[in-house]
Amino acid sequence: MKTKTQFAFFDEGSKKEIRRAILKAVCIPGYQVPFASREMPIARGWGTGGLQITLSIIGKSDVLKVIDQGADESVNAVSIKKLVHSTTGVELVERTQDATIIQSRHRIPEVPLTKEQILVLQVPEPEPLRKVEAREFMTKILHSENDYSGAWLMLFEQIMKYGRTATGADHPVYVNNRYVMAPSPIPRFDNPKMHQSEALILLGAGREKKIYAIPPFTDVESLAFDDYPFTVESFEGKHCHLCGATDVFLDELADNQTGESLFQCNDTSYCMDRLNAVEKVEVEGSYV
């Protein structure tokens, strides 16, 4: 009764089906394409949408990087990597530049992506209007009619109440001037990276059964009123305590001894790269 698993887990019929949904998503930037999301060997909500995209587009020559919260070694990233590797045997890497497919949860890497790469984002809640309208039937109508006043009103209310917009991650974006889209809960810091991105960005929500996409070189604009411009998280005056980087998304850590806040690059492979570059310079310097 033992069964052999397929290359990349899925049967070919399923892969084709998911790829068709991806193609449709690329054709209609920002539009959520429903698809028959499969149950995966990892739990719903743990990246099954991203995983299904990765498994249906991956080929033997692909090179894969998986990150969770910016880290390659985060347990769930490791778990996803193990699964893809065990069913495909593809090469796994940590350096962003070396990967052809990057699956990520909650972050876009600091290194600008290229047209040779595909970024796959895991999405827990693909519907940017869900907080305004609970019913799927209604949100579909709102999208089709380009009626996003609910999303704008939410931001307006925040400004009235708090004097500024108070969104955290997942700040909604306008894609190609048509669809309002949830960028998956990436920090606001990463929203601008989607604009005119060279790399294809695919977003997958397994539990909610939606796939959507930002094709390369597409306009992506964060929702903001004319007189309250969109702002990203501020790390003013802070820098990474390891590599010294300042213009990156930082994790805040508490120093066990002093109790003070320390900051560190959230993108671990980027930090590593910088540290190695510095060391290389030092080593080379000492041979002169």
């Binding site: 009619e145 380009n146 009626d147 006043s149 704008w152 009103l153 307006f156 209310e157 400004i159 009235m160 109440k161 009123f225 004319d226 007189d227 309250y228």
Partner: protein
């Protein structure tokens, strides 16, 4: 009075139910009031035609069940009509276009740019858990405004004009009294200077003194802004105070129309006579 009407309504029909052979035979429907006893179909609006002229207040009076509110819902696209035509004068693109036949998106455009609506129950016109200023901004956002300061300023002017103290503008209307809610609703309806305003039983259920202040407000808005209004009420006293012209509806049909004074002085139809005498 050779002015062009701003709104022309022609042969508006609205029925609930499919009809049957007893009630579908053209001009003569065998109905009890507006109801077909054979199949249960209700003919809520039957062959309604009228004009609304710029700057006038048109009153529509009738008992509950006469079809006046249903007609209003049809005009505001809250309900679909069974048949009929409406033409709007103001948007050059829409000239001679029956706006009942437009797409949902186009209808929304008209709602956001040409129409304002004040419902009898503020629950239908307001988001009770959003701030009052947010409620007004909603209409402005729908009409395409993306400037917070501008919308805030407009909201303040409007709230002041309906006598809502500005220190309460960030409060949710659910904390307000019925009269205040109604005034916020009026402010919201006016926010993008609609040329046409619908008012559906706006004073019903309010205290007399509050009624008076809301009626005053409406009258003032007409004078100052020149908005054309359709005022629906079962209360002839309200109509007398507001309307220049009046339509009387009974069982889904218009039975009498004319200048309000004329109707009050010299009612023709038996029902109107009964209505007028009961007022005195």
């Amino acid at each position: 009075m050779y002015e062009e009407p701003i709104l022309r309504v022609r042969n508006l029909e609205k029925q609930f139910g499919d009809g049957c052979k007893h009630c579908m035979q053209g001009a003569i429907r065998n109905l009890e009031k507006n109801y077909c006893p054979a199949c249960g179909t209700v003919y809520a609006c039957q062959d309604i035609s009228f004009d609304l002229f710029p700057g006038e207040i048109l009153g529509i009076v009738g008992e509950s069940g006469s079809g006046k509110s249903t007609m209003m819902q049809c005009l505001y696209f809250d309900a679909d009509v069974t048949s009929g035509e409406v033409y709007i004068n103001g948007e050059p693109d829409l000239k001679d276009q029956n706006i009942f036949e437009l797409s949902r998106q186009q209808k929304r455009y008209i709602r956001n740019h040409q129409y304002g609506m004040v419902y009898q129950n503020p629950v239908h016109g307001l988001k009770m858990n959003f701030s009052s200023v947010g409620n007004i901004a909603e209409k402005l956002i729908e009409a395409g405004n993306r400037n917070v300061s501008e919308m805030e300023a407009t909201s303040k002017v409007l709230l002041e004009s309906v006598h809502i103290p500005l220190f309460r503008m960030k409060e949710e209307p659910r904390n307000f009294s019925g009269g205040m809610q109604q005034r916020v609703q009026i402010a919201k309806a006016l926010s993008n200077n609609p040329p046409i305003l619908f008012l559906d039983e706006v004073t019903t259920g309010l205290d007399l003194s509050v009624q008076a202040s809301v009626l005053d407000l409406i009258k003032r808005l007409q004078r100052e802004l020149g908005i054309s209004m359709i005022v629906v009420s079962h209360d002839l006293a309200v109509i007398r105070m507001l309307a220049d012209r009046t339509i009387v509806m009974l069982n889904g049909s218009i039975i009498e129309e004319g200048l309000t004074d004329q109707i009050l002085e010299d009612p023709q139809h038996a029902y109107t006579q009964q209505l007028v005498y009961s007022l005195l």
